[in-house]
Assembly symmetry: C2
Homo-oligomer: 457 residues x 2
């Protein structure tokens, strides 16, 4: 990146919006995963879509790589500026632009975090359901099509997004979608940019659907003698059509982490964390039916957390599991697998993953949004130990290949980034060619997050 | 289209799969709307994706226009072969390939109709929820991102589609998506092809999500002194978060059509058709709460149709309304508006539409999937009367402009086709340029449904 580009940036941004400070560069070189860091040459902090537009136009003209950065809570290296160049940090674009209470809609800037949005919505009695665990930015969650524990009932990011403002690699500001709940008007650009991981432009505004806080919420913990029984119970609940809001599997190792982290004394056996949202009478009937299915599947104990604080604690434990593992293994790095399979293949997929974990003697545990067919193995790896790294990578590959052979996907919610790039050919075949054609057409100079999931040569 | 192309087609297909018969050409020249017909030069009836692939490869090589045809039940002229060439009819591709009962998934060929699918699913206790009224093909419904009365609860076509097989304009057979319920793997091509109206390729296989037949269903008719009151009631129900499965507005004129069509004696006042799906206890509570909201909004009468046959009759009347209008106005053609607006603008949008209809003295009525913010004016026009055609077109334009000014869309579910093409610039602005770039990249010879919603020059 030549000094001419840096000089031109000073014509677009104030001095305090441009940083080449070592600590800042270092902070923008990595995410929370095991992926190798790479420094950007400069970090920019735009305050408006117009500034982003001028930055991208300059980058395109000078063929300078651009990597968008939310909070760095990703798990596949999306924000690592693999080719150097510019890291655009959205932490100065954190406005909640408009809450349309009557339309159950909110417009936000990309740097708004989940907790910022939660707090702003409280007074309206509304909430935004997608909870990927980390307190990620809405921009980052949009870029990876994130999901989480409540996606079973409410859907993933793409199901919530009505409209996006995107700055194209050429610096044009476009608006996709509309405020309407549905549309058949033209190509669905909203869903194309959602999950495109910063490879097609910068997302500068997101319009999201909101929901009324449920009238009643019931959470429960159900313990099982084996993971197999727990997964069978989940499969039966899904197939019976019980509208559960959350169904999370937490294995023994992970329950131990939860207990240490939030100081609970949950029984250390394979456990399902469940939650139901609805009206009082309907919920009672759903819970009763679910209980029957759980016990039919050898559940040994179900404890209902009616108290709001006990319920919050349960989900706090689940959401912070990744951090619990990281703290428990100082000096090691986190690798998280993320396959998603059709529900009928879930039990064998998890059993396979569990066996592979034990066979390879890798420290970690298994958790998952099992109602969706999505599960994660958290593995704590020593990045300096080449042999262990290879073992962990082989493990990840075995899990992905197993999922793909069952018609599943290599990533249910974390995205491709660096880590899953090598599996795209196997998953998408000739469709990957279509993706490349789109990338080439929309970003011919390949400035947007180059080296990440899609290569164009 | 030169005779050389016709000759080469005989190398791909059997004789009985190629037709230049006048009646057949005529049948493939139009849909159910007012749009001007245009004859194709040949109609092809492929029986496999491979045959479609060879047809498209030939068409691309010879720059021959191709227009896919499902059943011709569309309302915006999508299947009209405006540039002549080939019409591909999918009526020989009607296989229900696989019902994965445990995964709540079905794989079908594009020529399968809604009623064929319904019948095949009955024995599994499963159903497919999207019901656009017409007994359309799943291929056509995918191509237009169709929706219908139950989209309020279950979502639109794009929410049901897990995977597509698409033949690209170059004749390559690709698979998008997977069997998994969610994915963050690469660009979302599934949602790009869904709603692309045959302009990016031919859809040759669709994998859909299914649902268990609801344990309990309650339907109701609620009558109001005015449309305004009816719409206010809908808005309140949506904002209160009552999970209704269907909420349809039928105005006085349309209730008269329903009464004549299915021989009912419904009160001829603005009416809401409602339906709730769920467990018995929850449903009771939802219905009670809804009743209170209805009467708060001046509802004069609510009649619950508990009997299954009475319920079926109610929806039969609603679904066949377009046909009722067509039969009631022999010699006239159907124009249907299709805007969708944010729910807070719905009342004023419908009142505006109603006023415009009366002011212009156009025969017809208003109905709508009002829970989604989507409403239709059915207008019966005399295509030979230029003045009336102009009046109807002005009316459509006024409604669209009103909707766009409220952040809505020109088409909630019917698609763009020929009829809404002129509004895309106003709705999408610079984003239309991105759509054109994609079209140009994926179909550089512009063979797929040329002249329809997107032009590339």
């Amino acid at each position: 990146m030549d000094s001419e580009v840096l000089a031109q940036l000073t014509e677009i941004l104030e001095e305090d919006q441009i940083s080449t400070n070592d600590t800042i560069l270092e902070h923008h070189s990595k995410d929370e995963s095991y992926h190798a860091a790479h420094l950007p040459e400069v970090v920019l902090f735009p305050r408006s879509s117009e500034e982003v537009s001028r930055i991208l136009a300059l980058a395109d003209r000078t063929k300078t790589p651009v990597t968008p950065f939310g909070l760095g809570s990703g798990l596949e290296g999306h924000v690592v500026p693999s080719s150097g160049g510019i890291s655009i940090d959205f932490s100065e674009m954190t406005q909640i632009i408009e809450v349309r209470e009557d339309d159950l809609v909110v417009r936000v800037q990309p740097g708004v975090t989940r907790s910022m949005l939660d707090n702003a919505l409280k007074k309206y009695g509304l909430f935004f359901p997608v909870d990927p665990g980390a307190d990620a930015t809405i921009g980052g969650m949009t870029a990876t099509n994130a999901s989480g524990t409540t996606s079973l009932k409410y859907g993933v990011m793409k199901d919530q997004i009505r409209s996006l403002e995107v700055v194209t690699p050429q610096g044009e500001i476009i608006k996709t979608g509309s405020l309407a709940l549905k549309s058949s008007s033209g190509y669905n650009l909203t869903d194309l940019y959602t999950g495109s991981e910063g490879t097609l432009g910068c997302i500068t505004e997101i319009t999201l659907s909101l929901y009324g806080v449920p009238e009643n919420i019931t959470a429960a913990r159900a313990t099982f003698p084996s993971i197999n029984d727990a997964v069978d119970a989940v499969t039966s609940i899904v197939q019976a059509g019980v509208p559960a809001a959350r169904m999370e599997l937490v294995d023994e190792a992970s329950i131990r982490q939860v207990n240490r982290l939030v100081e609970t004394a949950y029984e250390e056996n394979p456990t399902l964390f469940l939650e139901f949202h609805g009206n009082e009478a309907g919920l009672k009937q759903d819970v009763q039916f679910t209980k029957e299915i759980l016990f039919d599947n050898h559940c040994t104990d179900v404890i209902f957390e009616k108290d709001n604080q006990a319920r919050m604690k349960l989900w706090e434990g689940r959401h912070n599991l990744a951090y619990a593992y990281v703290h428990d293994y100082p000096g090691r790095s986190l690798m998280v697998t993320d396959v998603c399979v059709p529900i009928s293949s879930l039990a064998e997929a998890i059993i396979f993953g569990r066996e592979q974990l034990e066979e390879n003697n890798l420290p970690g545990g298994i958790v998952g949004h099992v109602g969706d067919g999505n599960y994660h193995a958290f593995i704590m790896i020593d990045k300096t130990d080449e042999k262990e790294m290879q073992k962990a990578d082989d493990f990840n590959q075995a899990i992905v290949e197993h999922a793909l052979s069952r018609g599943g996907t290599c990533t249910g919610e974390h995205g491709v980034g660096i880590g899953k790039k090598k599996y795209l050919e196997a998953e998408h075949g000739a469709a990957l060619g279509v993706m490349k054609t789109i990338k080439k057409a929309l970003d011919p100079n390949n400035i947007m997050n180059p080296g990440k999931f899609i290569d164009i040569e």
